[in-house]
Amino acid sequence: MADEALFLLLHNEMVSGVYKSAEQGEVENGRCITKLENMGFRVGQGLIERFTKDTARFKDELDIMKFICKDFWTTVFKKQIDNLRTNHQGIYVLQDNKFRLLTQMSAGKQYLEHASKYLAFTCGLIRGGLSNLGIKSIVTAEVSSMPACKFQGTMQKGVTDTPNKMFQWILCHRNGRLRRLTKPNIILKT
């Protein structure tokens, strides 16, 4: 990131732009946060691809979370996550005591109700990064007092679905057939 102010201002405008288009009826009410999160998702996917290009391979989930807390956060927000907690069963809590996107807003409880809009993009960012590294997750954020905030990620191990219109090559080793299935398949992983 060249200068953090660039992204900060752009992000603020993005949020207000999405909400303005909601008022004009282009986006349904209540879908603004989803829209921002999806934007962050796609950005996160691309960013992670760039950032992990030169790093060594990750050993496990914890390694990935540490990478997100340290390198990823440093590159995007110029600081590290202050606290990472996990219950070792798929739930991680990232705590940032001075979240860059919120420092300009207030230093206490003022504007608390609007804070969630400004965290949606970052939630998507984390979710996109994790999904590109192979982890499906749900990321939520909460703010109790600005500018500190917590991002909670829940890793999912369960149903995985294929994108539509993909070719799937399944080789049955038993009888040596090579088949090409064009129907989307839902694969359950227990």
Binding site: E49, T52, N132, R177, L178
Partner: protein, 282 residues
């Protein structure tokens, strides 16, 4: 008798296997039916020429090979079989495919397929999958560059390219089976076969004609490259640098807003990079 075999081969046009017991026993498969499926030969469909019990028993008893068998490496059988079909010209030595763009420049560029959806799908090239094209096989540097994407244990190709386009299915098969080897290498079972922190996997396994190299990114995208073994000028460092270039281009593709992650790669910049790499090798 050889004459009966020739008649069978002529009669059964869609099945291009020559009626040679040696041929069939090394393959264990019937061949391309032209519609994308491969079938284990049933006794009824095998043709009259093979009623000799010896051939049948040999084929049935050989187990399906674990490593990919070079499907078209089988010897062509008795010389008496060849004159029956030599009048057919191998397809790829002739004119450009109709969908190619650009002029026929160097001989290498003539063989590179124009990028198009049909060029990279396995079904499109099956008509050319004739064994007799082996007759005129020149010592080419065959290079297949393939990307496989893994999304939660699903492996499907994002991009496959080979030069020349003959026998593409064999390469697809090889790449698909090499995914097993890739999975083995990246699973951290403490075997220390490969440095766990490295992205480059090195030589996956050598077959008699080809060497297969692998590379896995942190985002679980696998790059597989198949190179002709006779190309001894290609050293490890060069392969590494080729994989780095591939990875860089893939990263650019990923950051392209017009690309949805998980789709096939349609970017021309990526194509050009791969083309230049293949030209450099060949």
């Amino acid at each position: 008798s050889p004459r009966r075999c020739v008649r069978a081969a002529r009669g059964v046009r869609a099945r291009t296997i020559l009626a040679s017991p040696l041929c069939l026993s090394s393959l264990g498969l019937e061949g391309a039916l032209g519609n994308g499926t491969w079938r284990r030969p049933s006794p009824s469909s095998r043709g009259q020429g093979l009623r000799g019990g010896r051939a049948t028993r040999q084929t049935l008893s050989s187990p399906a090979p674990r490593l990919p068998v070079p499907l078209l490496n089988a010897p062509l059988g008795a010389p008496g079989l060849l004159p029956a079909r030599t009048h057919q010209k191998p397809r790829w030595s002739g004119a450009l495919p109709p969908s190619s763009v650009g002029s026929a420049g160097s001989p290498i560029q003539r063989w590179l397929p124009a990028y198009g959806p049909s060029a990279s799908l396995p079904g499109a090239e099956l008509k050319t999958n004739r064994i007799l094209s082996r007759l005129c096989l020149r010592p080419l540097q065959w290079l297949l560059v393939a990307l496989g994407c893994c999304l939660n244990n699903l492996n499907y190709p994002l991009y496959i390219r080979s030069t020349p386009t003959e026998n593409e299915l064999k390469f697809h098969y090889m790449v698909h089976t090499s995914l097993d080897v890739v999975d083995e290498k990246i699973s951290a079972m403490g075997k220390a076969l490969v440095d766990q922190r490295e992205l480059y996997l090195g030589l996956l396994y050598p077959t008699e004609d080809y060497k297969v190299y692998g590379y896995v990114t942190n985002s679980k995208v696998k790059f597989v490259m198949v190179v002709d073994s006779s190309n001894t000028a290609l050293r490890d460092n060069e392969i590494r640098s080729m994989f780095r270039k591939l990875h860089n281009s893939y990263t650019d593709v990923m950051c392209n807003p017009f690309y949805n992650p998980g789709d096939r790669i349609q970017s021309r910049a990526f194509d050009n990079m791969v083309t230049s790499m293949m030209i450099q090798v060949c």
